[in-house]
């Protein structure tokens, strides 16, 4: 059954110290735990669509509870769905691709940062003919990107004081005639907060061949993720030299192959861009630059209840 929620839940960092034996079970605290679980159900949502150069990624609305996301709750990764011109369905320039650059402008959380372009899509694709005698390229705004918008509620201001851990199924602690106890209340509280942070998407920045993407750290509770808990999602930023966006050397010729990988266990970036020059010459380079997001999943091994 498709999930529909009548209320938009918020998050409360309810401390376990308030859930103590001998104290009344306060309705407010139970409601906070319930709301946190509901918040956890929708805290991270994904929206995918096709975009071209000059578009701005739409501000999504949750189909579950009609929550309207704001720009500072969004981060974007993209894939080259097609290099074609979206209108003509074919290439705009002559002959073959030469080099490419794609980007969706991320939100900059730095105080005072200019975020006018946040969510804007840029696509620049260059074509050229073969042979060193045809060095002039033709610039185009071809390209159709599949943009995945990661919407994380309270992305920049969610604060959880103590790292929560998974508590497992607590059914055995729920008694018909005595449904509430300190231990159960605390574990439900921690488990609900864990559900909020179990998956996060963290923008890691841009990288080139040979760089190492570090392990991410949760901005919410400072939890240091391991590589085993991290799925890196790379997006091509550009295909030419990694440290400087400029046209490839003339002799290299036209684009032949693009290849990228981020090693899951080490974060090491491997990029390969091949060019086809004149005659039988082929050049393999480590050109390219990628933007990387970390899609994290915390271990569901049962952990301590904590403070």
């Amino acid at each position: 059954m498709t999930l529909r929620l009548n209320t938009i839940a918020g998050f409360s960092d309810l401390q376990n110290s308030t859930l103590t034996a001998g104290k009344r079970a306060r309705a407010m605290h139970v409601a906070m735990i319930i709301n946190n679980a509901q918040f956890g159900m929708v805290r991270l949502e994904f929206f995918q669509d096709k975009y071209i150069d000059g578009n701005t990624v739409i501000l999504p609305v949750s189909a579950v509870d009609k929550y309207n996301y704001s720009r500072d709750e969004l981060t974007y990764f993209w894939a080259i769905k097609s290099t074609q011109n979206a209108s003509t369905g074919w290439l705009t320039g002559p002959d073959c691709l030469w080099y490419l650059s794609h980007r969706v402008q991320q939100w900059d959380p730095t105080p005072g940062a200019d975020n006018t372009d946040a969510g804007k899509v840029f696509s620049e694709e260059w074509y050229r003919k073969s042979s060193v005698h045809n060095p002039d390229g033709a610039k185009s705004s071809d390209g159709v990107l599949l943009v995945t918008t990661c919407a994380q509620r309270a992305m920049s201001n969610l604060v959880v004081q103590y790292t929560p851990h998974f508590q497992g199924d607590l059914t055995s602690l729920i008694n018909i005639d005595d449904p509430w106890s300190e231990d159960l209340a605390r574990r439900l509280n921690v488990a609900a907060k864990f559900s909020v942070l179990k998956n996060e998407v963290i923008y890691m920045g841009e990288f080139k061949h040979g760089d190492t993407v570090p392990t991410p750290i949760s901005p919410a509770d400072g939890y240091p993720y391991t590589y085993a808990e991290t799925q890196f999602i790379p997006s091509w930023r550009w295909s030419t030299q990694g440290n400087l966006y400029r046209e490839p050397d003339n002799y290299l010729g036209q684009l032949q192959r693009m290849e990228m990988a981020v090693a899951p266990t080490t974060g090491v970036v491997t990029l390969r861009v091949d060019y086809k020059g004149d005659e039988n010459s082929q050049y393999t380079t480590t050109h390219g630059r990628i933007a990387v997001h970390a899609l994290t999943t915390r271990s569901v091994a049962i952990g301590p209840v904590g403070p």
Binding site: L3, T7, S82
Partner: protein, 545 residues
């Protein structure tokens, strides 16, 4: 747990479109909609059903045409097939959206699920909205016959030309005692009270686990016709305690002084577990063109459906480059694209290449990495594929050509396969052969006859199986003996081309030979203008150098 979605979208309909209908049809081998008059209703009826795209909520709905006289009811049903057998689930939910063009004369809408349980009986989970008496009714077995009982829940006629959502939920015990739990009409939940009874029938259905879904309309006694549509029809079945779903808790029922019910705490616990599993990120998989991303199963056994999966993907590589007919890697990148079909998980990768002195050609080189992300209880919209639109006269870009080499041969060849003329590529082809003795005949009275060569094809001008004149042969018996030839013939598309090669030899050691046959498409000149560059069909990329 079993979840069968989009039942309304099953494309096959096997009902009889006539009035009166000839009774119940034999059960189909597969998954198909059928319909017939319900003999348990007075009067007459007839029906028809088809897939339509309007009106719809999810892209495709099923239309049900119904004519009735004298309270006649028409039953539409679908047997869910051997792939959806389920005898173990004891809880079920029947969920659908219904749209009626004119409900004036429809007195009853019935929504049933039938299940053959392990004791061999068929449990009928029967529910109907009886607008005539304003009650939701449920089925039980009274003296071997289905009996409709009034529930405590009222209903009013559904408005015309509007989608209405309906959710029925019920459970049974091992003997087939069914308890009807709740109904949700347009988002309003009503719980049934005391709606329970034996609903197992000895119908003799097999095999155990059979599931069958019914939708029925009954008339109000007048002579009339009506049209209804179902969309989003799905059945979910589960064992007690197995259903994994988030259900919103109304926190307004929590206030000071009120007792905290265990059921709320249990629901909170279950919701936390569901929220913990949402989203669920599955391991990255590398896929090439034509492969399918498998539908994942949750760590807790949750059975995802495609609508609940986001496919996040990126290019792993646009290579390696495939080879052309001569074993050379195809080169350069005019254009590339990829797609993962939301509805099927099918991966499509297209990488165009441009060889020197040629025109762009399509390959399926490359691979992508896909990370499936499960979002429970969501309906993720599909994103259409982006397909390129090459100039229409690029269809000859991928020239048909190749060769075959047969060595150490000591006999004639008959019906030797060469190639198949591709669809849409009928026309002139050049076939060239050469044969040479590689071992002379010797001993006894040695002799050799090499050839001739005969081509078999279907002619493009008259569609007749045709044979070229047999080439000359050679009776030489030396290592320098060879024959060769070339021919151009007009071949029909989508036909096979073969050849015969004659041979004769005598002696204690027979003659051995090698034959090489090559073919290529003879294409017309005068190619397309692409990006300001004139191509020609013979492959000269004229302004390239």
């Amino acid at each position: 747990m079993i979840k069968i979605i989009d039942i309304d979208d099953v494309a096959i309909d096997q009902g009889v479109i006539s009035c009166l209908e000839p009774g119940t049809l034999p059960r189909p081998a597969g998954y198909a909609w059928q319909w017939e008059h319900d003999a348990g209703t007075p009067g007459t009826s007839c029906g028809n059903s088809s897939l339509v795209t309007s009106p719809t909520v999810l892209g495709t709905s099923r239309r049900f045409d119904f004519s009735s006289n004298g309270y006649g009811g028409e039953r539409f049903h679908i047997y869910l097939g051997l792939s959806n057998l389920d005898s173990t689930s004891v809880n079920f939910r029947y969920e659908t959206m219904v749209y009626i063009e004119d409900p004036t004369h429809i007195s009853i809408l019935e929504f049933d699920l039938n299940q053959v349980i392990p004791n061999g009986k068929t449990v009928i989970y029967g529910m109907q909205l009886n607008f005539g008496i304003g009650k939701v009714q449920y089925t039980t077995n009274v003296a071997g016959s289905a009996h409709w009982n009034d529930s405590n829940v009222s209903c009013t006629p559904l408005s015309a030309h509007a989608w209405h959502s309906l959710v029925f939920q019920y459970h049974r015990d091992a003997a087939g005692i069914v308890t009807y739990d709740s109904i949700v009409i347009d988002g309003v939940l009503s719980s049934f009270v005391g709606c329970s009874g034996d609903s197992a029938f000895s119908l003799g259905w097999t095999p155990v686990g059979t599931l069958l879904v019914n939708f029925q309309m009954d008339g109000d006694g007048s002579l009339f016709s009506a049209v209804a549509y179902l969309d989003g029809l799905e059945i979910t079945g589960w064992l007690t305690g197995e259903l994994q779903e988030f259900q919103e808790i109304d926190v307004s029922q929590l206030f000071p002084g009120r007792e905290l019910r265990a059921s709320i705490v249990q629901r909170a616990n279950d919701n936390i577990l569901e929220a913990t599993n949402t989203p669920e990120v599955f391991p990255a998989v590398t896929k090439t063109n034509g492969q399918t991303v498998a539908l994942p199963v949750g760590a807790d056994g949750y059975p995802y459906v495609r609508e609940e999966i986001h496919y996040v993907w990126w290019w792993k590589s646009t290579g390696p480059e495939s080879n052309d007919a001569f074993g050379r890697p195809k080169i350069r990148l005019p254009l590339f694209r990829a797609n993962v079909d939301q509805a099927t998980g099918l991966v499509t990768i297209v990488v165009w290449r441009l060889r020197a002195n040629a025109i762009p050609e399509l390959t399926n080189d490359g691979s992508i990495v896909v990370v499936p992300i499960g979002m429970r209880q969501r309906q993720i919209p599909e994103i259409s594929a982006t397909e390129e639109n090459p100039p229409t006269d690029l269809r000859h870009a991928d020239e048909v050509r190749g060769s075959i080499v047969i060595t150490t041969n000591t006999g004639a060849l008959s019906g030797q396969a060469l190639f198949t003329v591709p669809l849409g590529r009928g026309g002139l082809y050049r076939v060239t052969f050469t044969a040479k003795i590689t071992r002379v005949a010797s001993g006894g009275s040695p002799s050799s006859t090499l050839g001739g060569f005969t081509l078999h094809y279907t002619d493009n001008s008259d569609n007749q199986a045709s044979v070229t004149p047999t080439s000359s042969s050679s009776s030489g018996n030396s290592l320098s003996t060879q024959i060769n030839g070339s021919m151009i013939v007009n071949m029909k598309e989508n036909t096979d081309v073969t050849f015969d090669f004659d041979y004769a030899s005598a002696g204690t050691i027979l003659m051995m030979y090698t034959v090489v046959v090559a073919w290529d498409e003879v294409v017309p000149t005068g190619g397309p203008l692409i990006g300001g560059v004139r191509y020609n069909w013979l492959g000269n990329y004229t302004t390239n150098f």
